[in-house]
Chain length 205, copies 2
């Protein structure tokens, strides 16, 4: 895959996040000017960016919000399908397995792991649950890109070690607890707090 | 509460998000220059912003990442404690009730609602589960700021109607399904997809 400059990626993600918000507000058309007002980035910069993404639409008149969002998502993924593996099939893990949001996107949950014998071997929403110790073998077979940690925080370091051992360099950590991983491994977390801050404050403005 | 300009809020949230990422990468000091490189906003703009937040630290030498993040979070909340109510105590709802991430912050889950008689009356992590129809009364009593929707998508419109009826103007929707609410009501969703895109792409760069 072609490597994209980090600054570009950060801007594109900011655009996508902004477009997501506009869609929620039922704003189906957006101009570079509006994007500029919301993101704080210059109108010129945004128009230059969007033209690079070969998106349809007229900067001043407006782009179709949903189309632009899709264009930007594909630009980031470059037609790659992201393979996820899930660790922990408890409350949160089960919710993630049932999350319908992935289906329209190029994101696929390919395997789940747990230590509970009652869960192992079962299929949840078409995804098989394997014993934790089989992670390295299964992950190599299904070419996983990202490991999702949804275990209690007491176990998240153990699971992180398994993920690294399996050769995955990207971890999405739902446990609000930091994990120690090698330099090369990227860790992100789903930050409920940030979304709540965002919602709380936007409603103030 | 003092209303903050939307553009300022958007930038502050971008800063917080960026600082979150730096902390994950164990970068405990950050300069306005680094923030500028990551966010794409100008160094001058960022230094001007941060000085307004009365944050400690020297722009060029660096700020303590965690301190700056806390300062920005408090700047947004203005010492208000955000009260959340939860709708749906299924897999996801239970996970949210047990989410430890809120405790350090000024965010408090004050009540939960469900239609399942086996859940009603129980306490999960100290939060009582009430029948859905009691939402308006309970919500007024506990002065809730935000309603969280964690019900199956078939029920999310019904629940959204209850939230609006209860006088809440901010909804955090976990169901990847849009809801119809009055103009004045703000809706946000937790977008797993965006975090996965972000993780996938950052690891490329």
């Amino acid at each position: 895959m072609k490597k994209l400059p980090r600054k570009t990626i950060t801007r594109v993600l900011l655009y996508i996040r902004t477009l997501e918000g506009l869609l929620k507000e039922k704003r189906y058309l957006v101009s570079s000017r509006q994007l500029s007002e919301i993101t704080g980035l210059s109108d010129v910069k945004i128009r230059k960016d969007i033209s690079n993404f070969k998106s349809v639409g007229k900067p001043r008149v407006g782009y179709k919000t949903a189309d632009l969002k899709k264009t930007l998502e594909n630009y980031l993924l470059q037609n790659h399908t992201v393979h996820l593996v899930l660790f922990g099939v408890g409350n949160l893990g089960s919710a993630i397995l049932k999350y319908p949001g992935f289906h329209q996107k190029k994101i696929k949950l390919v395997a789940a792991f747990d230590v509970d014998r009652n869960k192992i071997g079962k299929k949840v929403n078409g995804v098989r649950v394997y014993p934790l110790e089989r992670a390295p073998e299964v992950i190599k077979r299904c070419r996983a890109d990202i490991g999702i940690i949804a275990v209690p925080k007491e176990r998240c370091q153990e699971v992180a070690d398994y993920i690294v051992l399996s050769g995955i360099h990207r971890i999405l950590n739902f446990a609000p607890h930091s994990i120690n991983v090698p330099e090369k491994v990227q860790v992100r977390s789903i930050d409920f707090t940030l979304r709540i801050l965002s919602l709380f404050c936007d409603a103030q403005s």
